[in-house]
Symmetry: C2
Subunit: 168 residues, 2 copies
């Protein structure tokens, strides 16, 4: 019956980031930037690091505060928004629309195709990658002659851990 989830693969999430860690992610981004002929400046790198280090989707103004702590010199909103725009354009980050917040993206090449699950309780997020789902959305759109440029798929609720925790 329910053959549907077979192709789903949870790829990242705030909980799966114990080991592989920020540094490797940033290295990947650096390499991709070199290949692509774009610059991962200090600021952009810092923002990316902060996103990976955060346990939750991070707001732009929260990033501003974190950068201030880290750099002594404060940074104004446009600066951070520009960095975020860059990171998103390169697939290194995604915006969570239902939260006005940003998360790092584990698969820069496929950043447009993710599904996000967000826990209302612990605020953690799961990045999901499901080809079947993607195809279906694309078909829906194509069927209507619609040309897709951006997708937003966000599932908000309670994650497994918080469900069992609250079932005490």
């Amino acid at each position: 019956m329910t053959f549907r989830s077979m192709q789903s693969r949870p790829c990242t999430g705030s909980k799966s980031r114990e080991q592989p860690a920020t540094a490797e992610r940033v290295t990947l981004a650096m390499n991709l930037c070199r290949e692509r002929g774009v610059r991962l400046t200090t600021l952009r790198q810092q923002v990316l690091e902060l996103l990976w280090q955060s346990a939750r989707p991070t707001g732009a103004y929260e990033l501003i505060e974190l950068l201030a702590q880290r750099n002594s010199r404060p940074v104004a909103p446009p600066t951070v928004y520009r960095a975020l725009e860059f990171l998103m354009s390169q697939g290194f980050a995604s915006r969570i629309e239902s939260r006005n917040a940003y998360v790092p993206c584990a698969h820069p090449e496929r950043c447009q195709e993710h599904i996000f699950l967000i826990c209302n309780h612990c605020e953690e997020w799961i990045e999901l990658d499901d080809a079947r789902f993607e195809h279906q959305l694309a078909d829906e759109a194509a069927h209507l002659g619609f040309r897709t440029t951006q997708r937003v798929v966000e599932v908000v609720g309670t994650c497994a851990d918080c469900v069992s925790a609250s079932a005490d």
Copy 2:
């Protein structure tokens, strides 16, 4: 191969609103409110009418302006946000997260389950209803032990009309 779109049914959209019109939608809402023992006040009704009359997803502050035109007496933000909250709680409207804007909903009973396509060019929107898609998302979530409370599925791009128009 692509059997996927078979169950899709475009239900509403800003273009399909020539005939059935605002009045009938509002009547439906009134009846549902009576059944449910909640009140469709003048303000709430006005907001719902404005949403149906608009060709595009409508922002809260845009609604404030429209209400001012209509009522002589201006209305403050909290008032409109409360009306929107009510309409959404009853399934009469949905929020388009990627736009910070609101659209009326043709199927109040199933308002949580819609997919929205939004045209970047003409700003029109299409409300889509696809049971298969819904099930799949639910399965994805269930597979991870995630308890879903809210879904956001928005596809942004260029609608068929604007695609052919720009192909001149």
